[in-house]
């Protein structure tokens, strides 16, 4: 996996929004490497009862060769601390990990380009992009609108509408609860294989 264009999923919003709308595959419609910081994946999937978690894991496993789970110090430290504090929660863990990944000096080489995919309100705020020539941040809806403009999908708004009606599909939430243990194991496997590769 090494393409000149890379998409960094820098928070859980895009993953969960697309998962809930059953549209995660749209991330693969672009010829790019997909990079997800380990802590972002953890936040999105650590509790299988949470909306979208099961779908994200299934999707990750199915497309493992196209997606890199980027290991970070932030997650490593968090994980080590959990050994003594199992209920430890760090609200901005995913963001910290994302910043760490983006700032790795070897992440983008030569003429490579990076797209930071954020949830809608994150594009207003604090991800400081130093290399504007090579890195831009856009929201999930921006991404979907570009796909729509390219006629890869029918309607960006439809995907968003589906996500915003998430709570109206109780059967999906129940299904995820039932798969809790399976998902937990799947996450552990993904993380393990990630550490072996890094």
């Amino acid at each position: 996996m090494s393409r000149k264009f890379k998409i960094f999923v820098v928070d859980t919003g895009p993953l969960i929004t697309l998962a809930v709308a059953e549209s995660l595959d749209y991330l693969l419609y672009v010829n790019a490497d997909i990079i997800i910081p380990d802590a972002v994946l953890h936040e999105a999937t650590h509790d299988a009862a949470h909306l979208g978690a099961q779908d994200i894991i299934v999707w990750m496993k199915a497309h493992r060769t196209h997606i890199e789970i980027a290991p970070t110090k932030a997650y490593e430290v968090f994980n080590a601390a959990r050994a003594t504090m199992p209920n430890l929660h760090i609200p901005d863990l995913g963001e910290r990990a994302a910043v760490e990944v983006i700032e790795e000096p070897d992440r983008l080489l030569d003429d490579e380009r990076g797209l930071l995919l954020c949830e809608e309100t994150a594009v207003f705020k604090r991800i400081i992009v130093r290399d504007r020539e090579r890195i831009v941040e856009i929201s999930t809806l921006d991404f979907l609108r570009i796909l729509e403009a390219e006629q890869c999908i029918q309607s960006a708004e439809y995907v968003f509408e589906r996500a915003s009606k998430a709570g109206r599909f109780p059967s999906r939430v129940t299904k995820m609860n039932e798969h809790d243990e399976l998902t937990r194991r799947a996450i552990q496997e993904l993380m393990k294989s990630n550490h072996h590769h890094s």
Binding site: F5, D11, T12, G13, I16, T17, V20, V30, A32, E43, A44, D47, H50, L51, G52, A53, H89, P91, D92, E95, R113, L115, E119, E120, T121, A122, V123, F124, K125, V136, E137, I138, S139, L141, D142, F143, I146, A149, E150, F160, A163, S164, K165, A166, G167, R168, V173
Partner: protein, 70 residues
């Protein structure tokens, strides 16, 4: 859900509050939890305004589909 939390969800929905701040106010809720709460109140997901970001989006478009953008 109390009135303060409802106001916070409305602020998020209209783009006036970030997801991370909202999640903090809901005691570490996940983004998925937030989607459920929005749905419960029949509030739309926030939409980032494109005004002022046109060049950024154009650039992203040209990288995503290099042959198609002039």
């Amino acid at each position: 859900m109390n009135e303060q939390q409802k106001s916070a969800l409305e602020a998020f929905s209209s783009g006036k509050m970030t997801a991370i701040e909202l999640r903090r106010r809901f005691g570490g809720a996940t983004y998925g939890d937030i989607l459920l709460l929005l749905s419960e109140l029949d509030l739309p997901l926030p939409r980032a305004p494109t005004m002022g970001r046109e060049e950024q989006i154009r650039l992203a478009h040209s990288w995503m589909f290099p042959k198609h953008v002039p």
